[in-house]
Symmetry: C2
Subunit: 376 residues, 2 copies
């Protein structure tokens, strides 16, 4: 077992798993699918200490540690590592890039084996269930029969719920954070405006831009809209107030206020790492997501799944009442469910930054879940 001192850095290495052909929910087949993933910690002999982390809309497989020659750690590195919430000295942690993504897993920017060109809009429509289907194939290829836990926030939380719906026998516990059982009209509306912004960019060219300038401006605006919804009125006030960024400009509609400069900068950074067509496909998958009502564990074969549901008070994109709906459903169906609404001003971003409280909850929950499995 690898020893990690508290000060040592986790080294992250991206790996690729070829999972072959995948039949999608639409019944279409997608050939030669590759999944990019990273793992942290050691899989024990019984292979029962594995935890799958599912990422949010713009995340990737790089959830923790540092990749070689990179200064920026993984997107949930404050939650995954030695003595952290997902303790890599106890658990084997896996994170994979979602289907349709653009960070190693097959998506619209991948080469279509039939044409030897990027799929672009020939990539099939896909769903959250398809993402989870691919993750199950990855888990099987790692010879893991049952996950100790699946955990993730936002769209990651949708995948967590989908795991419970699609493969209840394959998970011991689930931690859906800042999420919902279905996308509501306001959430769809924000996604739709973002998509319209991408498709309005003439460089988008019906998705065929891979050999020419990309629709960067439309994509940057889409990201700016996203960022507003990730923060809260309050956190924006705390971060920016009404400070003017820079009055030293001649063009009338240059960004004056700090908040404008911040959004622009975030938009411009995003286009360097994200594919516009992935934006379209993945947001559609979110919009189609609906495991509410009788779709949600109606006749669960595995009543032993334990749930830890977390929401944040200032999250207005996935407000606490949507987590409460999940909890109501689970409780009515007799599941062991813990629910905590954490007070925070950080809005939807809270799940990425409110580490202290989440850590306490997750450590305690995983102790409870693993007690029965790891130490019996």
């Amino acid at each position: 077992m690898t020893e990690h001192s508290e000060n040592s850095s986790l080294i992250a290495t991206v790996k690729y798993c070829k999972i072959g052909n995948v039949i999608l929910e639409s019944t279409k087949q997608l050939g030669d699918v590759t999944i990019a993933y990273e793992t942290y910690g050691i899989l024990n002999e019984k292979k029962n200490n594995a935890i799958l982390i599912t990422h949010g809309f713009s995340g990737d497989a790089h959830a923790a540690g540092f990749r070689e020659h990179e200064a920026k750690p993984g997107w949930w590195s404050n939650m995954i590592g030695h003595r952290k919430a997902f303790d890599t000295s106890k658990y084997f942690v896996i994170c994979s890039n979602v289907l349709g993504g653009c960070a190693g897993t097959t998506g619209p920017s991948s080469i279509n084996p039939n044409s030897n060109n990027p799929y672009a809009l020939d990539f099939p429509t896909m769903t959250i269930a398809d993402m989870v289907h691919c993750q199950k194939k990855l888990i099987e290829s790692l010879e893991i029969d049952k996950l100790l836990a699946v955990a993730g926030g936002s769209m990651g939380g949708m995948q967590v719920l989908q795991w419970a719906v699609s493969y209840p026998e394959k998970i011991r516990s689930a931690i859906p954070i800042s999420t919902t059982m279905k996308h509501y009209p306001q959430q769809i509306a924000f996604n739709e405006v973002a998509r319209q912004s991408i498709m309005a960019d003439t460089s988008w060219n019906n998705g065929n831009y891979y050999n020419q300038p990309h629709p960067e401006r439309g994509l940057a605006i889409a990201r700016m809209i996203g960022h507003i919804t990730y923060m809260s009125d309050k956190s924006m006030q705390e971060k920016f107030s009404r400070n003017l960024k820079d009055k030293d400009h001649t063009f009338k509609f240059t960004s004056d206020f700090e908040v404008e400069g911040y959004l622009k900068c975030r938009g411009d950074t995003f286009v360097k790492r994200f594919d516009a067509n992935s934006y379209l496909y993945i947001t559609k998958a979110m919009d189609y997501f609906d495991v509410s009502g009788n779709k949600f564990l109606p006749n669960a074969k595995n009543k032993d799944i334990k749930f830890l549901v977390i929401s944040f008070s200032s999250d207005w994109l996935y407000p606490p009442y949507q987590s409460e709906n999940i909890v109501k459903h689970l409780t009515l169906r007799g599941y062991n469910t813990t629910y905590v609404e954490i007070k925070s001003t950080y809005g939807h971003d809270s799940f990425l930054v409110e580490i202290k409280n989440q850590t306490k909850l997750v450590i305690h929950f995983l102790e409870k879940v693993s007690k029965e499995v790891l130490y019996d």
Copy 2:
């Protein structure tokens, strides 16, 4: 005095007032300014029954009644008319299109007398105070010394507050609705994304599009963003649920959900009546708006102004706490202030649709204000 039976329609006729040159807050001069306005009811002999209605961001002078050959009544026609909140059998009601607008008042699409071409970006930067300055000139041209009331919602509410700051001696009462003393970062952020969307449209062409195709796509997206902020999570659920609009399409990213179709339709309608450069200038004026702290009636010469402040519970664009801040300021400064937060699920749009409660409040308030003036 014109008699209106309850069933008769108010006939609306747009008029134009040439107010000459205007010195703006920036010290720049704007020449030959025209103000488009409508009036309803009769100005009494003492000229003390006049009420100015100020419109929101995308409104215009057509606040009430029907224009000839038009089927759609004015934007606040349910509030202005015989026996309505602003009762035209008692009061002389005026509404003018704001400076920078595109519905008859001088704005970036007007002809620049110096070049004989539309101003486009040669139009000077302007503020809410400049809009109000022009309204004061209009009121003076109508030989009205003092308004009985100024009333308006959203950006109209900002103008109401600005009247109290700039010309306290010219108003007897003020009704700011669904508004704020200053624009906060989240409000600026939404405006900035909308502006970026317009400017990203290649047809925008640095504002020079008047003789060629207009930046309709960018403007439509800007409007879609606006519409999301005007509604509430709840009102969207009540209106759209997750209904699919039409599954009968072949293109993958056609709008599937009702809410997407609604937003697109609203965006497409908007571009037919609104000028993209006006969008830029007016949103900037809102973003610069700040009459908070010592700017707000610090040493009022007229402690007799009465205020009726109204907010709506589900308005998340101009949330009730921002109205409460106005009320705190007014109360501390000794103003006679009535505040009501109306329970509603309609979000920011409430001020346009929650007529019954607003009507009661406004009728009662105007009775109180006019008692001292009209009947002494």
